[in-house]
Amino acid sequence: MVKEEQPESVNRPDNTAFTQQRLPAWQPMLSAGIIIPGFVLIGLAFIGIGVALFVTSRSIQMLEMDYTGYEQNSPCFKCSDESVKNCMCNLDFNIDTLFKGPVFFYYGLSNYFQNFRRYGVSKDLDQLSGDMDAFLDPTSDCAPYQYDGNNKPIVPCGAVANSMFNDTFKLYQIVKGVKKLVPLDGKGIAWWTDYNIKYRNPTVKPLKNAFNGTVKPLNWPKPAYELDPSDPANNGFINQDFLVWLRTAALPNFSKLYRRITEGDYAEGLPAGNYSLEIAYNYPVLSFDGRKKVVFSNVSWMGGKNEFLGIAYLVIGSMCVVMSIVMLIVYAKFKFPEED
């Protein structure tokens, strides 16, 4: 092999800063003189943020109630048997002080792996963005929820849609022994972009016709176009409950937004008193040792209640301060030689 041609500098090499490796350079030297004040500042800032976070998190009210019915004495025990259909149970609770609004109503599932790889991909985005061709020929990712027993295509296909959470809740305030329905707002629980851009219904009117020749997911009681009889804009693939469900959770214990309480007498929050939650218990979880819960919470600028962040900030902030004090002592004792 002939030797590779090398650039032979016949003439004097360029005397530029670049070729001579003499580009002007900033040469930061992390020394105790910078680090100690830096750490103090960062530490104080972190403690400040930490306190703010902690106080905020503390001020957030949260009410969590398990309604799986695993224990014998729990009100939903009777419903936990899968053979019981259309089971209803009531969960009674009371609130001592005003639960400041707007109150957010979450449902939570544990030991439920929405982040299973095959589960996560088991949907057809073409269908979900209104592509009618995909209605009759769902992607094979959806298998085994691609076709039903009669080889009819399932719309919306896939495991995610099929396993959509279908417990429903009604919240009553018990005022002097009378049940007063608390209005629940089902709007604005899904990401704006999901509702408005990412997922689309077919443009066919009425929507029902688009679904000709297809079947609903096996576990669904009603087809997609009848998910919300009260609001035609909340049907099909842009049903907000459906969208919330489609945004698969990161961890096996998760909660998802169910409703917001923003209207009527309850716009300011849930007043103190007794409440009853009427649950249409449809969703089986005990088979895989899962749990179901409902969560009432209000949110702040930092989102829901999360003590971790405040504590972490406080700890790291104090660590920084302590560290800088240690450094200061070392510095005073040994006089870092490079400090000229």
């Binding site: 090398q6 004097r12 070729t19 030297m29 930092m302 209640k305």
Partner: protein, 1144 residues
Amino acid sequence: MLRRRLNRLLGRDERIADRRTIYVGHRSGSTNDAIIPPKFCDNRIVSSKYTVWNFLPKNLFEQFRRIANFYFLIIFLVQVIVDTPTSPVTSGLPLFFVITVTAIKQGYEDWLRHKADNEVNKYPVTVIEDGRRIRKESEKIKVGDVVQVEEEETFPCDLILLQTSRDDDTCFVTTASLDGESNHKTHYTVPDTGRDLESLNATIECEQPQPDLYKFVGRMHIYTSNQDPAMRSLGPENLLLKGATLKNTQRISGVAVYTGMETKMALNYQGKSQKRSAVEKSINAFLLVYLCILVSKALVCTTLKYAWQGTPGQDEPWYNEKTQTVKETNFYLKMFTDFLSFMVLFNFIIPVSMYVTVEMQKFLGSFFITWDKDFFDPEIKEGALVNTSDLNEELGQVEYVFTDKTGTLTQNNMEFIECCIDGFQYKYRDASSELDGFCVTDGPVSKLQQKAGREREELFLRALCLCHTVQVKEPIECHDQGDGLMDQVDGLEADGQETSSLQEQRGFIASSPDEVALVKGAMRYGFTFLGLESKTMKILNRNNAVEMYELLHVLNFDPVRRRMSVIVRSKSGDILLFCKGADSSMFPRVRQEEVERIRMHVERNATEGYRTLCVAYKYLSAEEYNQADKGLREARLALQDRDEKLMAVYNQVETGMSLIGATAVEDRLQEEAAETMMALQGAGINVWVLTGDKMETAKSTCYACRLFQRNTELLELTVRTLEDGGRRREKRLHDLLNEYYKKAVLDAPPVKGGVTRSWSSTNQDYGFIIDGATLSMVLNSSESNSSRYKNLFLQICQNCTAVLCCRMAPLQKAQIVKMVKNSKGSPITLSIGDGANDVSMILEAHVGIGIKGKEGRQAVRNSDYAITKLKHLKKLLLVHGHLYYVRIAHLVQYFFYKNLCFILPQFLYQFFCGYSQQPLFDAAYLTMYNICFTSMPILAYSLFEQHISIEVLLDNATLYREIAKNAMLRWGPFLQWTLLSLYHGLLFFFGVRFLFSNPALQDNGQVFGNWSFGTIIFTVLIFTVTLTLALDTRHWTWINHFVIWGSLAFYVFFSFFWGGIIWPFLKHQRLYFVFANMLSSVSTWLVIILLILLSLMPEILLTVFCKPRGSNARQMKHRLPSSGTSTIFMLSQTASTHSFSWSD
């Protein structure tokens, strides 16, 4: 064929395989039998590796032979075949990128080679066929063709010179493109081939092709119609090499003997072995560790998956049923598929782009050596040359430097200092003295202010003028140089007055600068060599009269004989033999009574560091001459053992001479040789001087270079010390070795990290001297002792500050390098030399450095790096080597680090997603992480980082020790980096995981999903990894700023872009608005800031608590003694230490 068979029958052609027969002009020899021309290869030069057709398969094959590429190919195939978590694109795209970049680079290089090949192969040449001149393409030349070449053309193949347009049957060529020597070399036609090429009927027998450029043996049989075939010997002086250029000669004709790939040029371009650097070995070791981590991760996940699925309800919950095909799959096959899937998921832990980045870093980085203006030498108008960029970082790891003396430590810029004639010393004062500037200075004490006889003086000067192989530079050259002089040679002959002014400008060309110095020296004393024309040497003597001598024979110089002679016939018909050579080889061959007078001078001169030569002569009677002439001619004709036969004749002729005098030529030390050597020793490098020169000269050079110092105790192991005491040599060797071992190794306090020259403490320094003969005794003594001696020898040497090996043959140099290279701990060796005799050690050492010196370009051609001056070695090692090492070591560690903390969260996520191989990051992030987001900052770092400034590195040689023994790539630092990445990985994952204990992170109560989870981690990852590098960067040029902040900005921009559009080609719009939504959450911001800061904290603390290296270095500066050559010191050294060394 018939002839051959006949020959074989007659037993004449015993060694048919060793030679080839060529029919000049394809005409048969003496008889009329039709010849069947033997098959030789055609004259095509193929240096290219690929053709258009085989480029793709061959290049791909070669690339996939690299283990890393193959690994990614396998991963890619697994992704295509098996149902895996990530799409094949994620590993296919980077692989494709890497392969394409490499293929483009290699293709381009090969295209250049094709172009060069074509230029050579399609070059039109003139071939004489049956008396007609035919133009042909160069590639069509066949062995036996008679080829005509014009001036300034290059020879299309190896030719035997038959005819030239010059009258004196010579032609001039330069071999600049072969070995870089630009001087004109004279080649001779084969005698008696006659003027008439058409009727020439001859065959040539010569050896089979071999790569040595300077060796050729053959003979030519010339058949004439009526006589017996005449036989002529052929040597390298008759052979014109392909690639050389015809100069000063209008036209030549020659017969092709070697063509195409069998030419010496082609043979020389093959077989230069690839050197691999120690860093690459480290990379491979780390790669293996990471592969183990990868496999164990996959195994752990697979095992846990099946253990976890064992619990009821987990394997197939109702919400996620399996498909029929999955259910039916064999259990073990499923397990295996799962294992593969995990492998694919974690495969990014092996940094795909590392090899490309390392290669780019090396390739681009090596430009800084070429560009360095400090390496530029205004004299030869050249800078440093990088022949291989693979070894940049090895320059920072050198533990042993083997240096040649002549031309390396010394300038090889010879200056005639003095001579002695019959024991009287003559010293030339300066150039301004008058023409007969012979003046006597401090001669031998007893004979102060005396002169030798005028006759002897002139004889001596004639000897200097005649006994050499110097050529006078042709006048054309002078015009080329543009000094506007008229025809110089003519002017000289015509006008004696002008000569003196022109003399100094005369160009002499010789293979050895000593000869030029001697001729110039003689010129100063009034004897000017005018040149050689058709075997006649002309001398302008003191009286401005031209003397003519017929040159009968040149008995060439060779390193074994260490002398050369000429036989000339003077005008008066006397036949004289002049001989010059080293004292050791001359003294036994002259009359003993003359020796003593000269010996003192020679030895004194030698101790002063001069190169000495003795000059002798003898008259040859006609009878003696005839005998010698016959012997020489016979020996030159021999096809086998020609060298041995010649040697025998030489030895026979060069006896009984009478000594006239001796010369002393100064070979001045290279600029800053002493500083360089001091710096190397300060850097903890052992310096060994390997020279062919004699001990005294070499020793004084060592003193001058401060390799030996006043308090250095010399341990001498030479033939002389062995012969002391009259005991048997072997016994003495044994005793001495043990004695020195005891002294240097056992009694010396243990030294750490190689040799340390202690500045202040009273530790005894040792210097070791060994000569070639003793070395071969050490290496080749009886088997039982051999390894023991070798071991002792090495240990002694390792405890000495400097080692001097003198009287070394080139092969012995390589032997020593090899021995040290293979010794315990396999230290990194560097050889530096300038001459052909250093090539073997340059090739042998880990790093070979050639000096673009005066002894041709062979060393440069075979070296890995070439510099112009020895002093540049200091910067090359201490600055470039150091920086390159630090850069690449950091590059490698960083690459492994960033990939481990990239993949660790993904691994941890498996515990939270039911071991379902759910990727944590989106495919785009997985693909881009290594190629876009994190590759540029580290590349910029690895090109521009100067953790210590160049000046400080140059001033403090000791800094070099900090990186000795691969300090930054040993398991310790590797473990540190691995721990750091584990810490980062764990922090990223669990920090975000705890944040997600309540996924309602926005103030509108909406929740984040798994892709938000991954994107937050990825954002923290990108920022942390980049900022970690930023923290390590000590030298922020605008490029670093641009690239580091640019990468981060690009990440943010890309994430917005990627998440801002519904991409039609994506199946799942997973990241749609995820990034923007993420940034709308205050908590996410806070957690990102928190995690980045927490990740960087240990490193910040470390940099504060460990003293920064730069300031450390600045302090060191005061402790070093000022280094500078002190000539007085050097002289006092030589005087005091040499008194004992010349005892006979």
